[in-house]
Amino acid sequence: MALDDVVKNAFIQLSKDANFGQKVYDVVINSISDALQATAKQIEMQLDPKVNKALKYTIEGFNTNSTKDGIDPSQLYGEMGNIYKQNIFGNSTFSNIYLLSTLYIRGLKKLGYPDPITGKREIATRQERENAQNITNITGELLAESLYQYYNSIGKNVTKSEIMVNLDKYASILYGAQGGVINKIGSYIISKTPNISLLESSTRLMSTLNEMFLSTIEGSINTMYSKLPIPEAVALILDKLGQIGLYNSTFNEMYGKIGGYIGQGLQQLPQQAGQQQAGQSANQFRQPPVPIKLQP
C-alpha cells in the first residue's frame, strides 16, 4: 500500500467516527466564534462617533442639513434605512446573491480588476490582495452555487460550470444593483427637497453605513479564514450563517447603533437676537456653536 493510501484509510476511519467529528466541529466552530466576536468588538468601536471621527462628522452633517431643511433627521434616516433594506434584503432568494456578487467584485477590484461601472482601478496593499484572494475564492464558490440553485429553481437548464465561466459577468451586473441602492436613496431625497447639501450628506451617511457593513462581512470572512484556511470550509459556514440571517442582523445592528446618534448634536440658540441672526444665516451658513456654561 502506498503511503498516501495509509493516510487516506486513516482519515476514512476518522470520518466514520461521529463522536470525533462532533469534537472537531466544536473546536473549529468555537475557535471561529471567539475570533469573530473579537472582530465584532473591534468593528463596534468604529460605530462609535467618539472613536470614528469621520462617522461623527458624517452624522453631524446629516443632522444639521436635514434640520436646516425642516426635515426630522430621525424620520428621514428611517425612510432611507427602509429603502436600503427593501432593496438589499427584501428578496430573500436574491439577497445573498446581491451581497456575494458585491463581495466578489470588491475582491476582484483589490486584485487589480477595474470597477465594472466606473472602470477605475484600485491600488491595494499586499495584505489587502491576500485577503481579497481568499474572499474571491470563497464568495466565488458560493455565488456560483447560489446562482446554479436559483436558475434550477425557476426551471432554467444551466450547469454550474457554465455559470463559473461567466461568473464575473453575472457578478458585475448584480454588483451594480447593490451600488444602485445609494442612487435610489438619492432619488428619494431629490423627490423631497432640492437641497443638494442634504442630498450629499444623506447619501454620504448611507454610503458610510453600506461600506461599514460590507467591510464587516469581509472582515468576518478573513477572520474565519485565518482560523480555518480552507476556502470550501469557510464557504460552507458562511453559507449557513447567511441562511440564518447573519447579514441581515449585522446590518440591522449597525443601522440601529448609528441611528442612536441621529437627531442629536444640534443645539438651540441661546437668545432671541442670536436666533434671528442664525435664522438668517442658517439657510446659507452653518449654525455657530453655543457655549456650555458653568454658572453659580
Binding site: I123, P291, P296
Partner: protein
C-alpha cells in the same frame, strides 16, 4: 517629476493645523511649479489613528483637491481636511504603498518630524527608506524636542505614580524645568544635564529607572525613535517656525546624534485661517454678529484660554488665576476654547467647584469633545474672535510652558485684535522680539501673570483701556502677509524648485523654452 507630501493628521494640535495649512499651500505650489517642472505630479498621503490604536494611511486625490482650489472652494477643501481627514477624497492604502510612494518620489515634504513616532509600522528600516541619503526631503520640526522630553518627564513625576523615584531625580527635573521657564530655552549645560538624566532613567539598572521604564515604556520608545529621526534629518532640509526652535534643536541634535543639520530654514508657518478670512468675509460677518449679540449684554470682563487641557499649556495656572480673581471679588468670565475638555474631567469639576464656592463668575466652554467646537468649522472661530475684539472687554491669555510658535495666539491677535498676555518662553519670546507680541504683556511667573491680568482688568473697568497700546498694528499687518498660505507657497516652491534644479542636473527653464518652440 513626483513630489510627495506626507501629512500627519493624528494629533489635534498646532501641528495638524500647520499640516492642513501647508497642504493648502501645496495646491498653490502645484500651480506655481506645473509650468516649470515637466510632468509634475503631487501625491498627498495622510496618516490618522484608527479606532484600534494603530495608524491608517490614506492617499488623497490631489487632482480633486486642486480642482476645488481652482474653483475657489477653499472652505470645501478645509472642511474635507478638518472634518474628515480627506475621507471622501481619499482611499486607504497599506504601509507598502506608503513606503513605495515616499521612496520613489523625486522630492518629499513631511509635515512633522514626529511622523514615525507612536507608529509601530514605521521601523528604523522604514525610516531609512523615507529619509534617505538622497537628501530629497523637507521635514518640519514644530517644537524644541529637548523641551518636549523635559515636559514629559515633568508630567510623569507630577502624576505621582512612580513610587521609587528619588527626591534627587525629581529635584533635577524641577530645576531644569524652572531654568527653562526662566530662560525660555535650555542652554548647553541644561541640555547635557537633561540628556544625562534621560540616559540614566532609560538605561540604568536600578529601582527608579526600572520602574519608569516599566510604567512609561512608551516614552523610552518614542524618544529612541525621535533621536533616530533627528539623526536622519542631517541629510535633508529641516524647517522651523522660529529661530529659538531651530537653535534649540540644532544644539540638541548635535549632542544626541553627533551630527549637524545640513540645511536649516526658519520660516513663519502658513495659517489656513488667513485664506478663509480673505475669501468669506460675508459669512464671517454673520458669525461675528451672532457672537456680538450673544455676549454684548454681559458687561463682565472676559478672559480667553485657547488650547489643550494639559499642564504644559498652563491650564493649572489659568484655573488658579481664575480662582484668585473670583476670591478677590472680580466677577469675570472665563471662555475656554479647546479640543479636549470633557464634562466630569478634573479641570471641569474644579471650575464648577470654584464658581459654586464664590457664587460669582461664569465659564463658557467650546470643546470638540463636548460637541461644540469653534474649530471644526473655523469660520466660526474667526467670527467669534472678531466679535470678542469688538466688545473691547476681552483679554487673551497664553500661559503655556512650551510654545514653538503659538498659532492660536496669533489667531487671537490677527482676527480679534485682542491684548495677548503671554508667558515669555521659546516661540512666544521670539514673537516678542520681532515686535509682534508686546513686551509689556509678557510674564514669567504666576505672580507676574496675576498682576498683569489685574492691571488690564483695572484699565478696562476704569475706561482707560486702549487696545492700540497693546497691538503693534504695523507688525500685525506684516504678520498677516507672512503667514498667508499663498505667500508661504511661493517660498516653498522656490525651495523645492532649487533643490530639483541643483540635484537632478536639468536645465528646466531651457527645457520649457524648447518645448514652447516645438509647440509653435
Amino acid at each position: 517629476m513626483k513630489i510627495v507630501v506626507l501629512a500627519d493628521h493624528r494629533w489635534n494640535s498646532g501641528a495638524k493645523t500647520y499640516t492642513i495649512s501647508a497642504t493648502l499651500s501645496f495646491l498653490k505650489i502645484y500651480e506655481l511649479l506645473k509650468s516649470r517642472l515637466k510632468d509634475l505630479e503631487i501625491k498627498l498621503y495622510v496618516t490618522t489613528f484608527n479606532g484600534s490604536g494603530g495608524v491608517d494611511y490614506h492617499e488623497v486625490d490631489f487632482d480633486e483637491l486642486y480642482k476645488l482650489y481652482k474653483e475657489g472652494k477653499i472652505k470645501e477643501i478645509l472642511e474635507l481636511a478638518i472634518e474628515q481627514n480627506y475621507h471622501n477624497k481619499s482611499k486607504k492604502i497599506g504601509l507598502d504603498d506608503l513606503l513605495t510612494g515616499l521612496s520613489s518620489s523625486d522630492f518629499k515634504f513631511i509635515s512633522s518630524a514626529g511622523f514615525g513616532i507612536f507608529d509601530r509600522n514605521i521601523t528604523k528600516e522604514n525610516l531609512d527608506r523615507i529619509l534617505s541619503e538622497k537628501r530629497n526631503f523637507v521635514v518640519m520640526v514644530h517644537s524644541d524636542l529637548d523641551g518636549n522630553l523635559l515636559m514629559d518627564l515633568w508630567n510623569i513625576i507630577n502624576r505621582n505614580e512612580l513610587k521609587n523615584i528619588k527626591e534627587e531625580t525629581k529635584r533635577k527635573i524641577y530645576n531644569l524645568f524652572e531654568k527653562r521657564i526662566h530662560k525660555g530655552y535650555l542652554d548647553d549645560e541644561d541640555q547635557k544635564e537633561l540628556i544625562g538624566l534621560a540616559k540614566y532613567l532609560f538605561f540604568e539598572n536600578n529601582e527608579e529607572a526600572r520602574e519608569l521604564r516599566e510604567k512609561y515604556g512608551w516614552l523610552v520608545e518614542a524618544v529612541e525613535k525621535e533621536l533616530y529621526i533627528l539623526d536622519k534629518l542631517k541629510y535633508g532640509i529641516v524647517m522651523f517656525p522660529t529661530n529659538v526652535v531651530r537653535d534649540s534643536n540644532e544644539r540638541y541634535a548635535e549632542k544626541v546624534t553627533g551630527s549637524k543639520f545640513r540645511k536649516a530654514i526658519v520660516l513663519d508657518e502658513p495659517m489656513f485661517m488667513i485664506s478663509l478670512w480673505k475669501n468669506y468675509k460675508d459669512e464671517i460677518k454673520a458669525y461675528k454678529d451672532y457672537y456680538v449679540n450673544l455676549y454684548k449684554e454681559d458687561k463682565r470682563i472676559k478672559l480667553i484660554y485657547n488650547g489643550r487641557i494639559h499642564p504644559e499649556k498652563g491650564i493649572n495656572d489659568l484655573i488658579k488665576l481664575y480662582e484668585d480673581l473670583l476670591k478677590e471679588g472680580k466677577d469675570v468670565m472665563l471662555i475656554i476654547i479647546t479640543p479636549d475638555m470633557r464634562e466630569g474631567s478634573e479641570e471641569y469639576e474644579k471650575l464648577k467647584e470654584i464658581i459654586n464656592k464664590y457664587k460669582r463668575g461664569e465659564v463658557h466652554i467650546y470643546s470638540e469633545q463636548m460637541g461644540n467646537s469653534l474649530y471644526v468649522y473655523p469660520l466660526h472661530l474667526i467670527g467669534f474672535l472678531e466679535a470678542m475684539g469688538e466688545l473691547k472687554n476681552t483679554t487673551y491669555i497664553n500661559a503655556a510652558y512650551i510654545e514653538s510658535y503659538g498659532l492660536a495666539t496669533l489667531e487671537a491677535l490677527i482676527f480679534g485684535k485682542l491684548p495677548i498676555i503671554y508667558r515669555d518662553i521659546s516661540g512666544l519670546r521670539e514673537l516678542k522680539e520681532r515686535g509682534i507680541l508686546i513686551n509689556e504683556l509678557s510674564f514669567k511667573t504666576y505672580e507676574d501673570l496675576y498682576n498683569l491680568v489685574k492691571k488690564v482688568i483695572g484699565e478696562i473697568e476704569s475706561g482707560r483701556f486702549n487696545i492700540n497700546k497693546y497691538i503693534n498694528e504695523e507688525k500685525r499687518k506684516e504678520l498677516i502677509d507672512l503667514v498667508d498660505p499663498e505667500r508661504v507657497a511661493e517660498i516653498y516652491a522656490e525651495i523645492i524648485y532649487n533643490y530639483i534644479k541643483e540635484n537632478y542636473n536639468v536645465n528646466l527653464e531651457n527645457q520649457k523654452v524648447q518645448e514652447s518652440n516645438v509647440n509653435l
